[in-house]
Symmetry: C2
């Protein structure tokens, strides 16, 4: 199904702004709101930042987008929904990279003990340094290359 169909299926109206958001997020790599806003304006002309926030929330509630909120950095969005893949986040530059889970099909969805909670989702974030930032750290401080 195309984006317009998915929007309708979620009970949302089809607008140029929302189609542009879907395409921008889909073609981008875990973009933040500001970057999505820029991309949308390039595609369809001036759209207010608030409209982007509003639509992103609607799209997320409708299950068309997934929201990623690494501690200490602005919210990002991706179109890969429905699986429960996880994310690598670079401590230095904030880059986010998808990663499949190590433990099978419904990974990490079952904690050792749920303490009576009704668990519906597991968020897993691996923190570290991405390859470019590793290289940079190595060349800047050769003695601490292993960090």
């Amino acid at each position: 199904m195309d984006d317009a169909g998915r929007l309708r299926q979620a009970g949302l109206r089809v607008t140029a702004a929302r189609l542009a958001i879907m395409r921008t997020v889909g073609e981008g790599d875990h973009l933040d709101v500001e970057a999505i806003h820029r991309g949308v304006c390039e595609r369809v002309g001036q759209v207010s930042l608030q409209a982007v926030y509003d639509s992103l929330n609607a799209l997320q509630r409708g299950g068309l987008l997934r929201r990623i909120e690494p501690a200490g950095s602005p919210t990002r969005y991706e179109t890969r929904v429905g699986d429960n893949h996880h994310h690598l986040v670079c401590r230095h530059c904030g880059r986010v990279t998808d990663v499949d889970c190590a433990v099978g099909h419904a990974p990490c969805l079952e904690p050792a003990s749920d303490a009576g909670y009704l668990v519906d989702e597991a968020d897993v974030i691996y923190w570290g340094l991405c390859p470019p930032c590793r290289a940079e750290a190595r060349s800047a401080r050769p003695d601490t290359a292993r960090v």
Copy 2:
């Protein structure tokens, strides 16, 4: 070792405010900054909120406290450091509960593929409803009790 010793070991000065923070966080249950501030003021009299922020950062950098930052809710702190246990977070009331990992000793620290990242930490958050909020949801809307 007591808190004063741990502070010194981390290269930090021992002050009444910091000891009060350690005790407040240690006796509390994943408190946020505002609650810690209240607790500290009850113990040692007026301490500025900024001092609490500053100290919490210092204590976290020194490895005496662990910071938990669930998406969409203010930062919380706990004294259980050094293991890599995970957290259950209630979507409704924000309560945070410790949980050991399902997959052994160094749980989840190894993603299926690290994409070249140098991973040093894994954050795992299970989202759901805590027992009191489940009960509340059940009595409020019996037809959706399973949600």
